[in-house]
């Protein structure tokens, strides 16, 4: 079977601005794949390229082997998209909206009605079926977007910030639901700002920044790339900073408290304790703190070169726009 998503050197330019820069990414069938990145990283542009709302400038993009432009009908038929924006038909009740969407995907009218009811029950807003979208609460609107993505029974479900601005209960409900869907065989592409969400749900995550792929790994692999901190409280404050082996990347002393940054806290702690005792220190307490995925994420995205993106150019981003000078610098670096 071809991958659920496969892009090769995917490029999207808006004039001189490059929203996607030679992005190559593969999501296997059945995977729960996360796309992480700060605002303006190109996550939504990437998704919209797959569903036809953005036309690529260069490169290749396929969904289950179908080119998203040459074979757009089959590619789009495979995808269910729950976008960030509330782009729902306001003229009809939500049940009718779902029936229409299923109809566009070739589901006959009777079956479309059954499916609409089924997904409304599944996301828990069946009793609102005869309401229009505008009358729903924020959380219900979010649920409806998911229902609309599910009504076509997609092989690939794309969730663009599905839990942005929703309460904790709904977030957990949505997590449970998408996990079930994934277990039933649906491939899931999730973009999120919430690192915890990716950590809980995703088999693999790609970190994007400024339209480029920074890395792809499992959440565990990513966490292993970070350093741990072993905090030791000594019975008495050391007069000088202890000289430790090469396993200690950084050592700081504050009174009777010693903090040592190491690659793997669990395996390094016994050696650290031995070394300290050998130096005559008495250990009162010890604590190991693992680097959070969030810290690694911040670290990975902060160190990247900045490149202007459409959202930042539009002023829709928190990040300041890039000056001409910075752009020239990037061009010289061969980035832009």
């Amino acid at each position: 079977m071809p991958p659920a998503i496969e892009t090769v050197d995917l490029v999207k330019e808006y004039g001189e601005l490059r929203a996607l820069q030679e992005l190559s990414l593969t999501v296997e069938e059945g995977e729960f794949f996360g796309l992480l990145g700060p605002n303006g990283a190109g996550k939504t542009t990437f998704i919209n390229t797959l569903v036809g709302l953005v036309r690529k400038t260069g490169g290749e993009a396929r969904v289950f082997g179908y080119d998203v432009e040459d074979d757009y009908r089959r590619a789009r038929d495979a995808i269910g998209l729950a976008p960030q924006e509330f782009n729902v038909d306001r003229f009809f009740t939500i049940r009718e909206v779902l029936k229409h969407k299923a109809g566009y995907h070739g589901v006959p009218e009777d079956e479309a009605a059954d499916r609409a009811d089924e997904v409304l029950k599944r996301v828990g807003i069946y009793d609102k079926r005869d309401e229009r979208f505008d009358w729903l609460s924020g959380g219900m609107k979010r649920r409806l977007l998911l229902a609309r993505a599910l009504v076509t029974e997609p092989d690939l479900l794309i969730l663009d910030e599905p839990t942005a601005g929703v309460d904790v209960q709904l977030r957990h409900d949505l997590w449970e639901l998408v996990r079930e869907l994934n277990e039933e065989g649906t491939t899931i592409l999730l973009t999120t700002h919430y690192i915890e969400e990716a950590e809980r749900l995703c088999d693999r995550v790609a970190i994007m920044n400024e339209g480029r792929k920074v890395t792809v790994a499992t959440p565990d692999e990513l966490k292993q790339r970070g350093t741990d901190t072993i905090a030791v409280r000594l019975e008495s404050a050391p007069s000088v900073e202890p000289e430790l082996g090469p396993y200690a990347h950084e050592t700081t002393v504050s009174g009777d408290r010693l903090e040592v940054r190491v690659d793997d806290g669990g395996s390094t702690a016994p050696q650290l304790l031995n070394d300290l005792e050998a130096m005559g220190h008495e250990i009162a307490d010890l604590e190991i703190t693992r680097t959070s995925l969030e810290e690694i994420f911040v670290d990975l995205t902060r160190s990247e070169d900045r490149t202007v993106t459409r959202s930042s150019a539009d002023g829709a981003d928190e990040e300041p726009p890039v000056s001409r000078e910075q752009e020239r610098e990037r061009e010289q670096e061969g980035v832009a």
Binding site: Y14, T45, N48, V51, G52, L53, V54, R55, Y72, R73, R74, R76, D77, I79, L81, P83, E85, N87, V88, D89, R90, F91, F92, V97, K99, H100, K101, A102, G103, Y104, H105, G106, V107, P108, E109, A112, R148, R310
Partner: protein
């Protein structure tokens, strides 16, 4: 062409205007009652017959065209633009419908609205004056073609509009003047100067109004002013319909092309 997806979109488009008669069918009905009452009855009694027809009967075809094409245009342009404005047109764009299916569904439904409005105006006119149909098949073909043509223009309007004011500008400042100078309320034979006739013949509305008038009354200005040389003079309505049909196909092809390149629809 008649795939399940196409039917679903076509149905959605039809339901959108059918469920809002106060916005879609009532205004043309009321406006045309006023037209017939004022121009037909009050003023018409003081105007001589035109081309052998009572004035009120003479203006019926033009009013039908005015209502039908305005509504076809308005429906398509509004549906596309409103969908773009609120982004729910993404529901269609992210579906596996072909671009041809999308365009034909939008155009077809808008043409239906134009045809229904045309029928409403004819029914209103019937209250004031008996109306017969001289060339039924020709009339139906003409109405289908011109409502489709303006629905096709409506798609383009809906795609290029940047706000709702643009739609109003298109309808009020382009469409309406062309229709009013399209021999709705007068005959080309009224003109005494040749240049006046020639200038009018540059207005595409003249051909539409004339075609519908020919279908309903059996009278054609284009035959009257001899737009085609003898012995082909009598073929003017058929040529006119042929040209309008060709124009419609061209406009629909442009619509499909715009959908293909995602003009106004995609980033």
């Amino acid at each position: 062409m008649l795939s399940v997806g196409f039917r679903a979109l076509f149905r959605r488009e039809i339901l959108r205007f059918v469920r809002r008669p106060k916005n879609t069918f009532m205004p043309p009905a009321i406006t045309n009652v006023l037209y017939f009452a004022v121009f037909g009855v009050i003023l018409g009694n003081r105007i001589d017959q035109i081309a052998g027809y009572d004035y009120i009967l003479f203006i019926v075809p033009g009013l039908i065209v005015l209502g039908a094409i305005s509504n076809a245009f308005e429906n398509a342009s509004f549906s596309i633009f409103h969908g773009r404005w609120n982004e729910y047109i993404h529901e269609t764009l992210t579906s596996p419908l072909s671009y041809v299916e999308m365009v034909v569904a939008y155009v077809g439904a808008s043409a239906v609205r134009g045809l229904v409005v045309g029928l409403i105006i004819a029914a209103v006119g019937r209250v004031f004056v008996p109306i017969g149909i001289k060339h039924g098949l020709y009339l139906v073909a003409t109405m289908v073609v011109i409502t489709s043509l303006f629905a096709g223009f409506g798609i383009i309007g809906g795609l290029i509009a940047r706000d709702f004011d643009d739609l109003t500008v298109m309808n009020q400042f382009i469409l309406r003047p062309l229709v009013f100078f399209g021999a709705v309320f007068y005959s080309l034979e009224t003109f005494e100067q040749a240049w006046q006739v020639n200038l009018s013949l540059l207005n595409p509305m003249v051909y539409m109004v004339d075609s519908v008038r020919y279908g309903l009354l059996g009278y054609s200005d284009l035959i009257g002013v001899g737009i085609l040389p003898a012995p082909y003079t009598e073929f003017a309505p058929l040529v006119s319909l042929g040209v309008l049909t060709t124009g419609t196909v061209l406009v629909l092809a442009i619509d499909v092309y715009l959908f293909e390149i995602g003009y106004g629809l995609t980033d």
